[in-house]
Amino acid sequence: MRIRSLTPLALIIGATLCGSAQASSDDTCYPTFSLLRDSLDVCNNLAFLTPGNDSRVNLRLLLADRKALPLKPNALSDDELSAGYGPVPFAVTRLEEGVIEGDESEESGAAALSTVLEQLGIKRETSDSAGQAFLQGEGSRCRSNRDDSAADFIGQLLDTPSLSDAERQSLARSRVQLLDGCTWEGEKQAALLPTDIQSADGKAFLTYLQAASDFYSGRFAAAETGFASLSNSRQPWLKETALYMVARTRLNDAQKDAFDEYGMLKENIDPAPFAKVAEAFEQYLVAYPKGNYALSAKGLMRRVHWLSDDFDKLAEDYTWQLTEASEEQRNMTLEALIQETDNKLLIFMADAAPSALMTATSDLMQMRPDQQYKLTRDKLLAQKDIFAQQPAMFDYLQAVFALYMDKKPVEALKLLPKDIPASLDYFAFSQQTLRGLALEAGNDLPGAQDLWLKLLPLVKQPLQREQLELALAINYERSGQLAKVFASDSPIQSAQVRLILLGKTADAPLLRQQITQGISDEEKATAQFVLLYKELLHSQFAAFGDDLKALPEKTAETKLGTSLGYLYSTGQTLQLFHWNGSKAESDYTCPSIGDTAALLLANGKDPKGLNCLGEFILRNGLDGMPLDQRPSAPQLGSSEPAFKGEVFSRLNGYQTVIADTKAGRDEKAYALYRAINCYAPSGYNSCGGKDVGQSVRKGWFKQLKTTYGATTWGETLQYYW
């Protein structure tokens, strides 16, 4: 996003434009448990440098290694947990402080202003100021017209002995009045400025007020002339402030036509005027390297570089700010700077810049498949000099290119170190992770498994261990060694990872084992639930009957939500399998689910059994049950499910009954009634199974209304869909 604004606080704005930095992750993020992804997904980041990570995450990993900003993941929020998240992968918001700096200068400014006004015996009519009316980060040059700057000015009046009391009063009153607005035309402006100033210093302060009001009003030529005339003022504050204001005035003038109607930065802006702006800021910074406005001037230089499309300098600015500047040398927090770097530089950076940090981050973005700017092998190889000090990073980027772009894992392996260092920062961890992924991509599953296991005791940085658990679990699953995940000495402790495997791929013996050996009550209950559910829905009625006997009369009331794949507050409990059918909501009576299964065990096409299994699904909201959905490769849980064959669908069941010439009258009528209702009210089938055409449904309806017209269901149904 590029904005149209004439702001002295360009710096803050960058932080807020895309607005993602602060958004809580409550809305839209869901986890995808996979380590291999090349396209951007802000909801699913990993703890190693990869094209699939949000650029801000990759930047943070690199900054953590440089000790510039430690990685401090937030605890998982309730919303994240209810969306199914574990520790890894993580949404970009997990790493964000999520605190925009409050503007404390507002309160301190008001206090300072009332102090100086008190000394002059001036009372303010209102505590509002034009500059304080804006939102955090809203862009306007008017923002600096506020209490603290007025207090500075009036403080200087008090400290300048050559002024008469009357002059001090007039100038101070005028300054306070200027706080009310930001635009004054001719007469209005004249009326605000004092006319009784005689002394030389007094006139200089008056010139300043005139220039400042011209500046806020957008009359930049007049403002610059006014400020420039103070460049040799003997009043030191006026001299310094005017020098800074000359630069700010030029900047506002230079950018005034840079944006289109909707605030977008225009293409091909003439950089020439910005050179003069830069000159003015540099002049100020040379004269006052630690001056009152040095931070602002330095920050505004970024804006100059941004507006003049000078990406090399902009990359240098951000690199310095992020990795070298001390806190006193920064005009904003690192958090906000990361956001600004992304908004203003990384997403627009087509080519390499002299900064290795920014180039590496940008290269990773450009290795996504759907990128506007694409990295090519030639472009990458041409960056050798940029990475002269970091040859390992250069190798790493080439390895990423080999694996993600060229799909040549063998080539990637050649570029990655085999030796594992004793301690792994995020870069070393990335090298080893990429190696493991390349081994897996080359089908060397045992090699990768060996590597993941070797890394486990070595990792110390946040999120590394959690990522390794996921990597190892995926490897075990793909290697057909699921039992290892659940072995008593398994390093895989992440609840989400274990539960996904139980729900998606575990076979009956493993599930039975985890009913007693699960590492938590939730895991035990999940295993039992999955076992019973899958046996029932895969028509393994004998096994279901046996395993149902092990279900205690009074089951745990633990609600199984995300552990079964549900989102938010939805879920089931084991009590489900004590369903006794007694409610008969549609006047169709069913036995318990155990007896229903027994009917189907005796005869797989038993009409009552089929209708009642359907009733069980319908009444308990099991249509579209998440356990039946198989994740797509290469996600965790995407391997061939252990329970074979089709999942029972209500629609199929009803069709079987409808086609059964020996089925009882009520059974037939109810099957017709329910089958038609599968398409209510939208015309879409909500019962699973193979769709049938509308003419078939019409036929069912006719049959129900004629042959079975006297049954409850024949009487009640008025439509078909």
């Binding site: 996003m1 958004a23 839209t28 999520g98 409050g102 939102l135 605030g263």
Partner: protein
């Protein structure tokens, strides 16, 4: 990149490959302009614009605090006949300062010679928060200068899962609901099932579409007395 509306943009891109009934912005004249979305020629034909201007949220590490940050373009003079100023709310616990700044900003748009129709609140009111949301909106309505209208974005599933009483209370409080045809990453592909209920809310409603996304208007929509047309969420061309 996680605003309720913005996520549609991603969906739009997902679907943009599909040929069937893709939403062509040129067929419409009301648009959302979100932050980070570049202007495009289709804006010339816009009669109504919904312009994102800010976000209200409780910072993650300090849930007691509420921040209000600016988003989108600076206040400027826009040519459209109808302008809605949009705020994205993550929390409904607004301190007085938020109301003051919000109305102040709307006033600045008015002062810049714009035809400000009203204020739109984009809050992801999952069904369970709906009653709180209604209470909040009633209060907001009471504080708003009378000349402005109040619009909200709404989720499709309100009409099926929400407490009908809470929904009913929206009548007379909001002037319109712009119903999203996408929720989370799930496209509500059975919108056909929801929309008849939406039309029965008794509140003027528009349908929110995403540029390049899929849409096939159900026939009954045009017959609904409450249907007021579409708003298209613009996305950047690829």
């Amino acid at each position: 990149m996680q605003n309720t509306l913005l996520r549609w943009a991603m969906l739009g891109l997902l679907f943009s490959g599909s040929a069937e009934a893709a939403v062509d912005a040129r067929d419409h004249d009301a648009f959302w302009l979100w932050s980070g979305v570049a202007s495009q020629p289709v804006l010339d034909q816009a009669k109504t614009l919904y312009v994102l201007q800010g976000q209200i949220f409780a910072p993650r590490r300090d849930r007691q605090r509420v921040d209000f940050i600016a988003q989108g373009m600076s206040v400027t003079r826009l040519p459209q006949q109808g302008l809605w100023i949009v705020y994205r709310a993550h929390t409904l616990r607004w301190p007085e300062s938020v109301y003051r700044q919000l109305f102040g900003q709307v006033q600045r748009w008015q002062d810049a010679d714009n035809a400000v129709t009203g204020i739109q609140i984009d809050f992801d009111a999952r069904t369970r928060y709906l009653q709180d949301y209604v209470t909040f909106l009633k209060d907001l309505r009471g504080r708003m200068p009378a000349r402005y209208k109040l619009s909200i974005t709404g989720l499709m599933d309100w009409s099926s899962h929400a407490d009908p009483e809470a929904i009913g209370q929206l009548k007379g409080v909001v002037d319109e609901v712009v119903v999203q045809t996408y929720q989370g990453r799930h496209s509500i592909d059975n919108y056909a099932a929801y929309l008849p209920r939406v039309s029965r809310l008794g509140v003027p409603f528009k349908i929110g579409l995403v540029q390049g996304g899929d849409w096939e208007a159900p026939g009954y929509l045009q017959r609904s007395a409450w249907f007021r047309g579409y708003v298209v969420f613009l996305v950047n061309p690829r």
